[in-house]
């Protein structure tokens, strides 16, 4: 049911051609940030204008689109972008990871492994991983050109020295194809290993910063670390309360004022499929007295806290899943 008042995919053909050209260059140089003429979109910056432009330029009439935000298909951002594409392209949309040919995402990579032929589009707020460390753009360009990435390790060193561990839990810098230092967008570092040798094409769009970059299928992606402080992903002591999954990224939600926490899969499609297959969790929140909680490890010390998937997971908005449990 495409709205005929729009060109297919909202953008005009010349713009799509320009963006495709930038994407081709991005695929040819994995991890390299290609500047492009980002357009005004009918969204506010920060709502995925970069990702939307990338998706609008790769989408075809036969594509099946899935949009996720924080792993869930039913959050505001995901619903809006899915409706936007349903209206401007008329393509089929889905919530099933396996059925989608294009997945636009914010903050997560689906738990279900991606396959060849799928495209995953990331919405990126800040494409430059050296942004907080080196304010001069010209200097960061030189650093990328000469592959001088020691500075990123200085930051990680500082984390270990001050906090005992690398504190960065999302937007954890990676080296793509052993060459370009790249921001994986604010996905939790839990998802970083999924990028390595992924059979799907990974495209990244930053609308406000006007940059596109890509990780082609089967490209090496290495998370930076120290030899004696290797990269590690988050682990939870609990399983998902709904589906019992112990291997997925869990959202932690405070459900009362006595420290009870509900742990549920952040990927709603994965959780739903497991429940349909008969898996079942404890169905209840975990009581954690406040004095037993680990002290927060100052996530990035004020570095764009609002971008953290955890911060938003803790926001007092009840998702569909949570309401189901409480009832």
């Amino acid at each position: 049911m495409m709205d005929d008042n729009y060109n297919f995919g909202f953008l005009d053909e010349r713009t799509k051609k320009m963006i495709r050209r930038a994407m081709l260059k991005a695929v040819a140089i994995p991890g390299y940030q290609v500047p492009f003429g980002s357009r005004e979109m009918p969204f506010a910056y920060g709502w995925g204008t970069g990702g939307v432009q990338v998706t609008a330029s790769v989408i075809g009439r036969d594509d099946v689109l899935k949009v996720i935000d924080q792993g869930a298909d039913d959050t505001t951002n995901a619903v809006n972008i899915r409706r936007f594409f349903a209206r401007t392209t008329g393509v089929t949309t889905t919530e099933k990871t396996a059925q989608a040919s294009i997945i636009q995402t914010r903050h997560r990579i689906p738990e279900t492994a991606l396959e060849e032929g799928q495209v995953i589009v990331f919405q990126v707020p800040m494409p430059e991983p050296l942004f907080r460390l080196e304010p001069r753009r010209r200097e960061t360009i030189t650093m990328h050109a000469l592959a001088e990435y020691g500075l990123m390790n200085v930051k990680l060193y500082e984390d270990i020295a001050q906090l005992g561990a690398i504190s960065r839990t999302y937007d954890y810098p990676v080296l793509v194809n052993e060459r370009y230092l790249t921001s994986p967008s604010p996905i939790p570092k839990f998802d970083n290993p999924k990028m390595h040798m992924n059979p799907a094409l990974q495209l990244f769009g930053a609308g406000r910063e006007k940059r596109i970059y890509a990780i082609p299928p089967y490209t090496a992606v290495r998370s930076l670390d120290f030899e004696d402080h290797p990269f590690e992903v988050q682990r939870w002591d609990h399983a998902c309360a709904l589906c019992g999954a112990a291997d997925s990224f869990l959202d932690e939600m405070i459900v009362d004022d006595e420290g009870s926490r509900l742990f549920v899969c952040s990927d709603s499609d994965y959780c739903g499929e497991r429940r349909d297959a008969g898996y079942c969790g404890t169905q209840q929140a975990v009581h954690m007295p406040v004095n037993l909680l680990p002290l927060p490890l100052g996530e990035g010390r004020g570095e764009g806290r609002e971008e953290g998937p955890r911060a938003e997971a803790l926001a007092p908005t009840l998702s569909q899943k949570e309401r189901e449990v409480i009832q």
């Binding site: 030189t142 000469l146 001088e148 020691g150 500075l151 390790n153 200085v154 930051k155 060193y157 500082e158 270990i160 020295a161 001050q162 670390d225 120290f226 030899e227 004696d228 402080h229």
Partner: protein
């Protein structure tokens, strides 16, 4: 003798546009520097000392003349460098930006007058010392920390302050940290721009003592810009007196200071206050 020259400067000059007028900040500077030799550049404010230093460190490009440096290859052997067509003295203007940055990170040090310009103020002292090693690919936290600690000891900094930000250090400590940060890759040549200015005399004396010791231990060559003749007397083997962008006199430090030939040098030497 010519073989082991480290730095050779021939007629180097730099000009700036001021309004519509061309002004030479320094001109016609020629000298040679050998490994392990310390050269002081003295002169009054505005005489072109700092511009000259920036020319030597390739932070500015020469407008005339040239600066040649004895470039080693990355493993430190001259043989491989000569195979790559970079045997012995190379004109810095011919080197790529990547090569220059590599030189500045490994073979050179640059101690700024204001420690804040030479330090990374938002990371701890330890990270400042480790930065060059991380830039060279060191990825072992324990070793980096060990190096940082041993260098802090060498420059007589309190090792308990390793995780403190340089902003919390005193001026003298910042200057020591800056020196440690530069020397950690064992450079052969260190440029210093008024390293003791702004420190009180007792701190100055200890810093000079430290510098003299390090220069001796590590066989460092150094070019020190200063307007303090006492610093030159203490540290330098030879000195260069500059006025209005020109070198008016050069020679062994003791000779220049005890028997100044040029009128300006005589004025300079006689202006020093003795308590």
């Amino acid at each position: 003798m010519n073989d082991d020259l480290l730095l050779s400067v021939r007629g180097a000059g730099k000009r700036f546009m001021q309004g519509n007028r061309l002004r030479w900040a320094c001109r016609d500077v020629s000298f040679d520097l050998y490994p392990g030799e310390v050269l002081a550049v003295v002169g009054e404010s505005g005489s072109g000392k700092s511009t000259l230093l920036r020319l030597l460190a390739a932070r500015l490009a020469c407008d005339e003349g040239s600066v040649h440096y004895d470039v080693r290859d990355e493993a430190g052997t001259a043989a491989a460098a000569s195979a790559a067509g970079e045997a012995g003295l190379v004109d810095l203007a011919q080197l790529s930006e990547a090569r220059l940055r590599w030189l500045a990170r490994t073979d050179w040090g640059f101690v700024e007058q204001h420690a804040r310009d030479g330090l990374r103020m938002n990371v701890s002292g330890g990270a400042n010392i480790g930065e060059r090693m991380m830039a060279l690919g060191s990825r072992h936290y324990g070793k980096l920390r060990g190096q940082a600690l041993s260098w802090m000891e060498r420059v007589e900094l309190d090792v308990d302050r390793i995780d403190d930000l340089p902003g919390t250090y005193s001026g003298g400590m910042q200057q020591r940290l800056q020196i440690a940060r530069n020397l950690v890759t064992h450079p052969r040549l260190v440029f210093m721009d008024e390293p003791t200015t702004g420190l009180d005399v007792s701190v100055q004396a200890r810093l000079l003592d430290l510098l003299r010791e390090l220069v001796d231990q590590l066989q460092l060559a150094a070019v020190i810009v200063t307007h303090d003749l006492a610093v030159a007397r203490l540290l330098a083997h030879r000195m260069l007196v500059m006025k209005d962008g020109q070198v008016v006199e050069q020679g062994l430090t003791d000779r220049v200071l005890d028997d100044p030939q040029h009128a300006y040098t005589q004025l300079l030497v006689s202006s020093v206050l003795t308590p």
